[in-house]
Amino acid sequence: MKTMTPQPPGFDLLTDDRDSAVLVISGDWVQGNTHRDFQILKEDLCCITAKELVVDGESLGDWDSVLMAFLLQCYNQCRDDNIRFATRNFPASAKQLLDVASAVPPHEPGASPALPWYQSMDPGHLLREVRDAAVGSLDFLGELGIALARLVTGKATTRFSDFRNFCYQAGPDAFAIISLTSILVGMILAYLGAVQLQQFGAGIYVADLVVIGMLREMGALMTAVVMAGRTGAAYAAQLGTMQTNEEIDAITTMGISPMEFLVVPRILALLVMMPLLTLYANLLGMVGGGIVAGGMGITPLMYIAQGESAISMAHLSVGLVKSVIFGMLIAVAGCRSGINSGRSSAAVGQAATEAVVTAVVYLIVADAAINIIFQQLNI
């Protein structure tokens, strides 16, 4: 029955009869009309002593899912309170919908797999998570070690063509972004140094600062940060998607080790390309420093001569050693996140994020540790 002007929805609980309470529904129960909160009725229902609740739809106007949601709440409440539930004077379609919706009792949730936030901050829980992550990492590194040993003995199922493709992706493909960041980092180093050094009339030493800064530290670190965001995330996303598409299952059941087939070529490619990219970044960083030095009145010849005197094998080696270690860390973080990824698009995104965050943390910790070690060794 449809009414011309919408009537506000209403209900009235009549409890005159001791055995049977009647809930009279009236007005238009449609979306957009004023909503009637079930909680109000729930409080009244708690107080009734009747063994049966009859819901009467005689005065019901227009209706849609708003009415059905309300009726289902009533039904569930009665079931919980052991009150018999009945309806009368409702349209047949409403009764049918209620029958369908109430056919299966609501699922009783078991122990929730996700911990509430306060429990996830529990130190014991955090320690367990750290322990699991550490065990997982060691497990991954152990498997990687075995795969690399099999590669050395010629037993691995690693394909050279994959290694070559990954080298291209991690090397020449990254030239543009590495060029831009390296020149800018060189310029930043030169600006920072120039402002201080000029106060003492030692502006020419900007060349030393840029050369040593790029060779020892910034060349390797900035290249690593860019590669973590670019290649590490790509590895995680590629492997995560392969997990979703059951490609890793297919590889495993073909008797091929995913570690040898997928992870080893990626890690080797980054190990080979990182030192080369770092050398390239060092060079461009020095060029960037030279541009700023030129602006301060230091001629290119003076800059080159001064810079040349600052270059030493020790500085160069420190940067290259770092680049190899950084390459390993980025590749391991990316591949581990990808291989352990879940099987949904959200999980792939999470794996890529995890790869970048883990890699950047690894890089900073490793850089600090390497600097301390080299300082202690007077290198």
Binding site: A103, V104, E246, E247, D249, A250, T253, G255
Partner: protein, 256 residues
């Protein structure tokens, strides 16, 4: 009497503390087209993953030709796996490789064929599934039905003696689905391979299956084993008859 090719022995499967299925005991005979049936979420694909060794059982074992899989060494497992061909629900084709490269991979890894011989075998395998000429296409460039057939071509690259299929007809139109059924039967008959299929496509089951097992989601164990036509007409389990006759139990069961 047929010889048992695969034996599932007291298998119990669980994800952590969540029990999926328990006490599964059945044989799959050599040359059977065996179907693993059951409602959604009952653990059919999980059972297949256990059979493929992708998951480890909570208890029990699976044997292939009398050799236990889970107690075998890694090398023995690799040898066993080389005798299997598998097509996954989504195909499982390597998206970064062309169809030819996908089919070539197992040949490259496990045979000593020359590149020219491999190309001939690839063309033959693709022709068997009606895809000769598509060698240089990537999986993303062909339709869902073609991807399933290409996955089948890769699965049969090494002439396996067991073929596993996870929901082969899922997402296919009735004609493609029936073509795939026909292809499976023809391949089985010509090679004598044992076929293990996870599906709940009734037309496929009745068209090709010779034996089956029904996993129940409520009791969490197998409740029927045998020829699906016989089970449909004579099973003592109402839910199995209902499943195979495609009858709804009113209301919709909570287990689904």
């Amino acid at each position: 009497m047929s010889e048992a090719h695969i034996t599932v022995n007291n298998l119990t499967m669980a994800y952590g503390t969540r029990l999926i299925q328990k006490d599964l005991n059945f044989d799959i005979n050599r040359g059977d087209i065996f179907v693993i049936m059951g409602g959604s979420g009952c653990g059919k694909s999980t059972l297949l993953k256990h059979m493929l060794g992708l998951l480890s059982p909570a208890a029990g074992d699976i044997s292939y030709a009398g050799r236990s899989f889970f107690t075998a060494s890694d090398e023995e497992r690799e040898v066993m796996r080389r005798g299997w061909g598998i097509t996954y629900q989504s195909g499982g084709l390597f998206s970064a490789m062309t169809l030819a490269e996908n089919v070539e991979l197992p040949l490259q890894l496990y045979t000593r064929h020359s590149a020219a011989d491999r190309a001939d075998i690839i063309a033959y395998k693709l022709a068997l599934v009606g895809l000769d000429g598509y060698q240089n296409y990537y999986p993303s460039e062909i339709s869902g039905g073609m991807r399933k057939r290409a996955a089948l071509a890769r699965a049969i690259a090494l002439d396996p003696d067991i073929l596993f299929f996870d929901e082969p007809s899922a997402g296919l139109d009735p004609i493609s689905s029936s073509l795939l059924d026909q292809l499976i039967v023809q391949l089985q008959q010509s090679t004598g391979a044992t076929v293990v299929m996870v599906t709940h496509e009734l037309p496929s089951i009745f068209a090709i299956a010779t034996n089956s097992v029904y996993l129940d989601a409520v009791s969490k164990t197998m409740i029927a084993y045998g020829d699906p036509r016989t089970l449909r007409d004579h099973s003592d389990q109402p839910v199995v008859r209902q499943f195979l006759a495609r009858e709804a139990s009113a209301p919709i069961e909570e287990s689904l």
